[in-house]
């Protein structure tokens, strides 16, 4: 039998180890393509002429939701329960949140979109979920959200729901 040099064999574990890291972008691509989990919402940092097209007439109702537990603990509620969004028209709306503690808290909002496969057509220009927010003790503050509909949204996109859940970031074990 042909002898294989140990150097060649060591390449295999190195490749396998590398594949482990390659899985992260692969999983992202997989979720992007299939729309699994509704995590592929678009974030627009630069003005994107494709996404913001003033000519598009399509109007979609966006339902704004707050997670039940976040409503209980933070009195976290959307200012408007539903808004109409149109491609190219930016809409700003607010969520309200109250800190009932006598100390400031830092929170992170985690969004989720239904139906998940259409999440990419909901374009967030500005969202309180991009960063952690610190709320002073006993204060009620407004959290801004600026959204629009992507002009790429196909005809069958007819409704969207956006929900947030609030997590206190101290309880996250410092992962941020």
């Amino acid at each position: 039998m042909k002898k294989i040099s140990p150097w060649k064999i060591t390449i295999i574990p190195i490749l396998m180890f590398g594949f482990g890291f390659a899985l992260v972008p692969l999983y992202d691509i997989f979720c992007d393509v299939t729309g699994i989990n509704g995590k592929n919402y678009s974030v627009m940092s630069v003005f994107d002429a494709n996404a913001v097209n003033e000519n598009s007439q399509k109007i979609v109702t966006l339902q704004l939701l707050a997670d039940a537990d976040s409503r209980d603990v933070w009195q976290f509620t959307p200012e408007k329960k539903r808004i109409d969004i149109q491609a190219g028209k930016m809409i700003t709306t607010y969520y309200e949140i109250t800190n009932k503690n006598d100390f400031p808290v830092t929170i992170q909002a985690v969004p989720s979109v239904a139906p998940g496969e259409w999440a990419e057509y909901l374009v967030k220009i500005e969202c309180f979920c991009f960063n952690q927010q610190t709320i002073p003790p006993y204060e009620k503050i407004k959290l801004p959200l600026q959204v629009t509909l992507s002009a790429k949204a196909p005809e069958e996109v007819n409704h969207l729901s956006l929900s947030y859940r609030i997590y206190q970031s101290e309880s996250l074990g410092g992962t941020f």
Binding site: D67, S112, Y138, S161
Partner: protein, 373 residues
């Protein structure tokens, strides 16, 4: 073993003699009360019959061989062992059958995913171990908890007809109306299933899922949680009460008034508090802390003789109001009314030999709660 034998025999007898016991559910999938559930049922029956036909053909040939090609009958073994033609035939034929099955299945699935144009949106949140229904376009928001008494589960009292399938407050929905369900969870994954609506969707913490139903007939439709969610998984049923559109409107107005009234604070005597407290306790607390307050250590501490139930009353009330971070103890501040909280705290301090003697008034609970804000 004899008891088992007798029970088995009587069970078999029951099977053959009377079908009334499962007339409502039958042996088969329910046809349900929505267009989708009918489609699913029809699909199920078509696949079932195809499977039966395949089974009959395969088992028929097998049985024939077993009977006629046995050595004891003097059968001589043939020696054929290959035929590409035959292999191709029995690869292609099933493929065609499968394609024929896939077409109606695809159509039904596309239908099921058509979530648009709902008239009513209900947010369903799974909790360990109860459901919360929030009507997004109305001021109605409530918990729905198993109402079967613990005595029936523990075989002390006789079990009633809807044992384990009954709740204190059903989800009320109008008929002939497209209702969208937005499902999520507070803690672990649950799954909301009502067979008659053919709706089963997992509720996932931090994520929302969608589903919908248009109910054709008024009635009570019962279901259960179908994703293992801990010790109380078998004890979080779902009841949907479908009513006419007019009744639904009346119900919504009543609910809004009732929920507002529940926020009002009234004075209650010690006995009233204890009586109400026992009710609140058995629906909201007994699943973990047990009916007799003994708990299930170490996950769910005992309340009988506990430091909190016998200690400072403010700490006790705060524990019920805010829950305990990182444990299964949830915050009841918004789940229960102040009088319910006052009642259950009083009950916990004075039941099962915890004779602390003091009580919490609804007013005092409200003060504590408001001060927190």
């Amino acid at each position: 073993m004899t008891r088992v034998g007798i029970s088995a025999l009587s069970a078999l007898l029951l099977l053959t003699s009377s079908h009334s016991a499962f007339a409502e559910w039958g042996l088969n999938m329910t046809e349900g009360v929505t267009r989708i559930s009918h489609e699913v049922h029809d699909l199920h029956m078509i696949i079932f019959y195809i499977c039966v036909a395949i089974a009959v053909a395969v088992f028929g040939v097998m049985l024939y061989s077993i009977i006629y090609h046995r050595k004891s009958r003097g059968a001589e073994a043939a020696n054929f062992h290959e035929s590409t033609t035959v292999e191709i035939i029995w690869t292609v034929t099933p493929l065609i059958i499968l394609i024929a099955m896939a077409i109606p299945a695809t159509n039904t699935l596309i239908d099921m995913y058509d979530n648009k144009d709902a008239e009513i949106d209900v947010q369903i949140t799974g909790y360990q171990w109860k459901w919360r229904y929030t009507y997004l376009n109305e001021d109605v928001d409530f918990f729905s908890v198993l109402s079967t008494p613990q005595d029936q589960i523990d075989n002390i009292a006789e079990k009633n007809e809807n044992y384990l399938l009954e709740v204190d407050k059903p989800l009320v929905l109008p008929i002939n109306t497209k209702v969208r369900f937005l499902l999520t969870s507070k803690d672990v994954i649950h799954s909301w299933w009502v067979p008659e609506l053919a709706v089963k969707k997992d509720t996932i913490p931090g994520f929302i899922n969608e589903s919908w139903a248009i109910i054709d007939e008024p009635g009570l439709y019962r279901g259960q949680c179908t994703e293992l969610c801990g010790a109380g998984h078998g004890y979080m049923p779902i009841v949907v009460k479908a009513v006419s559109k007019e009744e639904y409107k009346i119900w919504v107005t009543q609910q809004a008034i009732e929920q507002a009234a529940a926020k009002e604070v009234k004075d209650m005597s010690f006995d009233e508090l204890m009586a109400q407290g026992e009710k609140v306790y058995s629906t909201n607390c007994a699943a973990c802390h047990k009916q007799d307050g003994s708990g299930m250590t170490p996950m769910f501490p005992a309340l009988k003789g506990s430091a909190i139930a016998l200690g400072d009353i403010d700490k006790h009330i705060e524990m019920v109001l805010d829950g305990k971070q990182g444990t299964a103890m949830s915050a009841f501040a918004e789940q229960l009314s102040v009088s319910d909280i006052a009642a259950v705290v009083t009950y916990e301090r004075n039941a099962w030999g915890n004779d602390k003697g003091d009580s919490a008034s609804p007013k005092y609970v409200k003060e504590l709660k408001d001060n927190k804000k």
